[in-house]
């Protein structure tokens, strides 16, 4: 956060007001943070409880396992009984490949949609945005039949390839981002004889870095959370993803809550890591791109 404006004279004059508004801002932020953190905190505490601790009135928030001989019993059970480590690695693999792939296909397409005029542009862009409106629930069975025809069942291909090739959200996002790049820069580069690929890579990609990084985060999370497709396409235990491992902790009549929460906690950790790493770049994006 080095790019904010320095304190202007007008703020300095109204010093009292500024201080008060800062207090209000902090109070709001803190209140919202509590509301936001509470479910997460509940997950953490429940991961350190025994099944008997959960669901009492008033709810027990004591992480009783922490004071026992096996504080990490729930996590240990996940890894030993359910090969949860394997599921996590599988999810990291699938989500990373799909999200990284999306950055390439979406930025290429977004660049063309934003900065090139060609016959069919409106139609194709419309078709792309249109696909976002169709609920997966009604397309998933035809899609399943297609994947069965392609002989892709019980592989990662149905989880990765479509997502990697058609990121409608990502293309839309990057199209909008590229649109706001000043035309002057592009013109200058074209006059200098730079190839389209060079312009795309050296001019547009750096400028769009905050959007690209955000897209990676969102695509990673979306792919990570993909449950319906994982259920339908994956059968082998070795190929299962983390959400698939998690639902298997839910039974017909009752669920293993403490394990479920420990598993949920484990499976959001990679997303937190990706987000925290990304945040640095989102915020630095403007500064390093050097467009002023």
């Amino acid at each position: 956060m080095t790019s904010r404006a320095p304190r202007s004279p007008s703020t300095a004059r109204k010093g009292g007001w500024a201080r008060l508004s800062t207090v209000v801002v902090y109070a709001f932020l803190a209140g919202f943070a509590v509301l936001t953190l509470f479910p997460f905190l509940w997950m953490v505490l429940t991961s350190f409880q025994t099944p008997g601790d959960t669901f009492r009135i008033p709810p027990s928030l004591t992480p009783s396992l922490l004071f026992s001989a096996h504080p990490f019993a729930n996590f240990a059970e996940l890894f030993q009984r359910f090969s949860f480590g394997r599921y996590l690695l599988n999810s990291v693999f699938v989500s990373t490949v799909a999200a990284a792939g999306q950055l390439v296909t979406c930025s290429l397409a977004g660049f063309a949609f934003a900065r090139m005029r060609f016959p069919g542009r409106g139609l194709l862009f419309g078709a792309l945005v249109f696909t976002m409106f169709v609920p997966t629930e009604v397309t998933i069975i035809p899609e399943f039949l297609l994947m069965a025809k392609l002989n892709w069942l019980d592989t990662y291909l149905p989880l990765i390839v479509p997502s990697l090739m058609v990121g409608a959200f990502g293309t839309f996002l990057l199209t909008e981002t590229f649109r706001s790049v000043p035309y002057g820069l592009e013109e200058a580069a074209t006059i200098d004889g730079a190839s389209p690929l060079r312009i795309y890579w050296h001019l547009f990609m750096p400028v769009a870095r905050p959007a690209l990084v955000s897209l990676f985060v969102i695509a990673f999370i979306d792919n990570w959370n993909e449950l319906l497709r994982a259920v339908l396409y994956i059968s082998s235990n070795d190929l299962k993803t983390a959400p698939l491992g998690l639902v298997s902790l839910q039974g017909q009549y009752q669920s293993e809550w403490t394990l479920l929460m420990a598993g949920s906690l484990l499976s959001i950790l990679p997303m937190i890591v990706v987000y925290l790493l990304a945040q640095k770049y989102i915020v630095q994006g403007f500064v390093t791109s050097g467009i002023k």
Binding site: G52, S235, V247, Q252, Y253
Partner: protein, 427 residues
């Protein structure tokens, strides 16, 4: 990674070639995967050359997956089947007729009261299309500690609805401000809360052919009794008062002293109640119109795909998995194994746990059973993700005091008959 799924695909292809001796088996019980794998090992050891491929997804994921597999003509040889869906799957020709294989079965070893659901046409003489794994049925749960405190005698076999109402009144405890701290009873429009009372009053909500909704006088009387418990007698909370609390936690958390729901809740009760209070189960009280008890019991089953190339082997596997080989501790408390010997083992090992009268399930198993399952049951009844609609939703409106019972019956009858007319154009 890539080579791994290549290998996986090749392995699958090879297994496909050798499919003469491969059985694919799907269940919705991922929670007992290790025990299932152990059973499969036993079966494979007894059948050299046979390989069983096993996969399990919980019910919410199981049904979409099975439907997709059916659409792609890739159904596994053996798979779980529920009472709610068997009519639909059987009428669409997806299940193998198992009747020819049953000649040597000694049915006296099993709880045959629930077989009717698996036979087509339903009843004692239909052909068998699935084999029960276990079965369940609603019972009356009651808080013994609360009964003792209120000085009320525990429910007995000859309890009438008036006795029940009296008890519920005494068990409804109010604080100084008149606010209820403990309700006598808890129910809303859910199938396992309502139907037991209807059947125990010898009522029907379907016509004889089970092709239309038709609420008879006995059923109406049962619904009125339940609605009055909430709106007139004020011994049970309106469902909206309990929103935000898991319905199955109301009784074990001590918010209501009596409750009628499926026997599988024994497991949840044990976990939540612990030793906070004493509780037990009893028969749902019989209504004034009934002269004998009618149970509401239904099985979870195992079926064989109509397209299986190994029906004989599949049948052997089904028999093995639903028989006495499966250990007693793999059955959730309150679900009764189909094999009587296993249930006896369950009761023995459960002897020191609450409820004291778990053996009530044996009596339930002897009674004639009635159900309301039809094709599209979940739609007209309002079940699972549709629990907010259908008959369930209309009854909730009655319990919430927003609709008269007559209007609700008219509404869910008309809605249900529209649904059923899609399956049975003629009643």
């Amino acid at each position: 990674m890539k080579s791994r799924f290549l290998i996986a695909s090749i392995t699958l292809a090879l297994l496909g070639l050798a499919s003469a001796q491969t059985l694919r088996y799907f269940s919705w019980e991922p929670n007992i995967t290790e025990q299932t794998n152990a059973l499969i090992k036993q079966f494979e050891a007894a059948h050299p050359g046979v390989k069983v491929q096993f996969e399990a997804d919980p019910p919410n994921q199981y049904w979409p997956k099975m439907s997709a597999l059916a659409a792609a003509h890739k159904l596994p040889d053996v798979f779980y089947m529920s009472s709610g869906y068997i009519d639909e799957w059987q009428t669409n020709g997806l299940l193998a007729d198992l009747q020819p294989f049953t000649k040597n079965v000694d049915w006296s070893q099993y709880f045959t009261g629930v077989l009717s659901t698996a036979r087509f046409p339903h009843g004692a003489n239909g052909d068998l299309y699935a084999v029960p794994i276990d079965w369940v049925g609603p019972v009356l749960y009651y808080n013994k500690t609360a009964f003792d405190k209120a000085g009320v005698a525990y429910p007995s076999a000859n309890w009438t609805w008036n006795d029940f109402l009296d008890a519920a009144k005494k068990l409804t405890v109010r604080d100084a401000n008149g606010k209820v701290t403990q309700w006598g009873f808890w129910a809303y429009g859910r199938y396992a809360h309502i139907e037991p009372w209807v059947f125990q009053n010898d009522g029907h909500i379907l016509n004889a052919a089970r092709t239309r909704i038709q609420v008879d006088a006995n059923a109406t009387a049962a619904l009125k009794f339940l609605a009055d418990l909430v709106n007139v007698d004020k011994v049970a909370p309106a469902p909206k008062l309990m929103s935000g609390v898991n319905q199955q936690d109301v009784f074990p958390q001590g918010l209501a002293a009596m409750w009628v729901d499926g026997s599988w809740n024994i497991a949840n009760n044990r976990k939540i109640i612990g030793d906070k209070f004493q509780w037990d189960i009893a028969m749902v009280p019989r209504g004034p119109a009934a002269t004998s008890d009618t149970a509401y019991t239904w099985p979870d089953m195992m079926a064989v795909s109509a397209n299986s190339k190994n029906k004989e082997l599949a049948w052997e596997f089904v028999q093995f998995m639903t028989g006495t080989a499966r250990p007693a501790d793999t059955y959730l408390a309150g679900t009764v194994p189909f094999a009587k010997a296993t249930e006896e083992a369950v009761l023995k090992s459960d002897a020191s746990n609450q409820p004291a009268h778990e053996s009530l399930m044996l009596e339930l198993g002897k009674l004639p059973s009635r159900t309301t399952f039809t094709p599209k049951w979940s739609e007209w009844r309002g079940y699972s993700a549709a629990g907010g609609g259908g008959m369930n939703g209309e009854l909730d409106k009655v319990f919430n005091g927003q609709e008269s019972l007559a209007d609700a019956i008219a509404a869910f009858t008309s809605y249900g008959n529209q649904v059923l007319a899609r399956v049975y154009p003629n009643p």
